[in-house]
Symmetry: C2
Subunit: 307 residues, 2 copies
Amino acid sequence: MALPEFKIAQLRHFVWVAELKGFHTAAEKACRTQPAISLSIRDLENKLSTVLFEKRNAKTSNTELTPFGQYFLPKAKELIAHHDNVAQDMALMSEHKTGHLRLASVPSIACRMLPELLSKFIADVPELHISFYDDNSEAVLRKVEKQQVDIGIASLPHEHEHADITFTPIWEDQLGVVCREDHPFAEVTELHWKELRKQRLIRNGTSRLLEDTEAEPLLSDSQFLISNMLSLIAMLEEGLGITTLPWFAFPKNNSKLRFIPLTTPKIVRHIGIVQLRNKSLSPAAEALASFILKNTNQDKTKDVESE
Amino acid sequence: MALPEFKIAQLRHFVWVAELKGFHTAAEKACRTQPAISLSIRDLENKLSTVLFEKRNAKTSNTELTPFGQYFLPKAKELIAHHDNVAQDMALMSEHKTGHLRLASVPSIACRMLPELLSKFIADVPELHISFYDDNSEAVLRKVEKQQVDIGIASLPHEHEHADITFTPIWEDQLGVVCREDHPFAEVTELHWKELRKQRLIRNGTSRLLEDTEAEPLLSDSQFLISNMLSLIAMLEEGLGITTLPWFAFPKNNSKLRFIPLTTPKIVRHIGIVQLRNKSLSPAAEALASFILKNTNQDKTKDVESE
DNA sequence: ATCTATTGATAAGGATTCCTTATGGCACTA
DNA sequence: TAGTGCCATAAGGAATCCTTATCAATAGAT
């Protein structure tokens, strides 16, 4: 005979009848009528081709298990417990309350936007584990492609258009000039690239944003390249020169430095969420993506213009 | 939301689709049509409120799991395995191929009938564990009452009628006289109790069967009481005297001794299966009981008369 | 490019299962 | 001997499952 296939509800009914010693109380607990429980138990007995409960001709009016039923009871309970564990686990998982979320982001967003976003996001999901990596855009994209990360935050260079990657733009990050507060530029509100030619310009990791723009000549003018951001800031504070930075990379609350938008050319990099095309996100990643989307839509451009 | 309740078949479908990488092959394996599998999976996805399989716009035409599905797969497999373990175990149990059977019997049946019966019974149930006890009828009954034993083989004294015990008679065991082959009785085919009065009668554990019969005076005539059966036989072989024994207690294949039925009074003890009333037997015990019944019905009386 | 074969999704109907209300039978109680 | 509490049974409706038939999309072949 083929192995029977138990239904979880059926097993629950059995356990309840056994433990509450009665069909009526079990029916109550199961939110069913008593005949439903009767049929359920009978079906189970047929599957096992054995009787589970003694016939009630005993003096005690309680329904009692047969030896076979006693043998079955603990196993049924274990099976139910196992099922419920899995069900609960999967429910938590699909409500992204648990699981593992791997995230990579470019440093500027990581410093400026993510701290607040992530702390809000994880506020009500204490069981969710998050692995975070920060790196430049290409590295972030690479991690996404290699599935080392579930979701990435980066800008999308043109050479990546071909890849199996979906890009959802979120932030617009405008390039500007950074100088010390006592620099003549500190007082102006916008700058033309040609105004920079007389200045001592320090290149940095973000300088290649100037490539393919009319301001490209600045790159060859430049004498310095400082790729480490902390060193760069220190040099700028020292008055060694000026540099160009995207707004998000400009350190927040820095009192010694000023950020002046570059208006000609206006260079904007679009930063957004990067994920593998044709691959669904885990519920947690999905939740984070929509959370970011929801919590940034309204101030997408304001962030750039304000302050 | 209440926890979802998975169906085992549904989980199987999921695992098959995942492992065979396709709905059609899974449907084949499940002996269902492809739409059935589609619906089954969709139902599961609704329960989990998540998608399990990537949409098939990928270049590879194989259906692939989502990360969530990958996380679910091993758990689903474990749950199915657990279920099947229990189902298999219970199936074996209900076919009495496994489990534990505790049996007590009076020694005569234990020696004369059970060896053959049990060896036949266990021939095709190698996983069944049997615990066997032999003792006199009262002790057997006590073990049954105390549920130290699932089933007993004994005769039912009158003082036990009241108890919660069911008795199914199987064998009729006739009392007879045992003497050495060179004794004058050895040649006769039946005896009257009065013929024993001139003999040296040895009492034994079974002698109380004579109580409440017209042959009761024999008990007070008797000079010896030997309760150990082996010693008793040795004494008889030595020609020390004669005794009364039920036929089943008379050692099989003993060439020195003879058994002569006592015809007046004809004393018969009924031996049968003893079990607790209102308590079902385990499948193994049930099987043994009906096995014994089936394999002894036809020669119930023949055993007593023959040889 | 068109055709074909294969894949999964969808719709509609029938079959099955599940659960309900109503009722029956049995044992214990008063 | 009627009453009460328990489970079993019967019959009908509701929900579920599974089928056939069809669609839509893709990949490979001609």
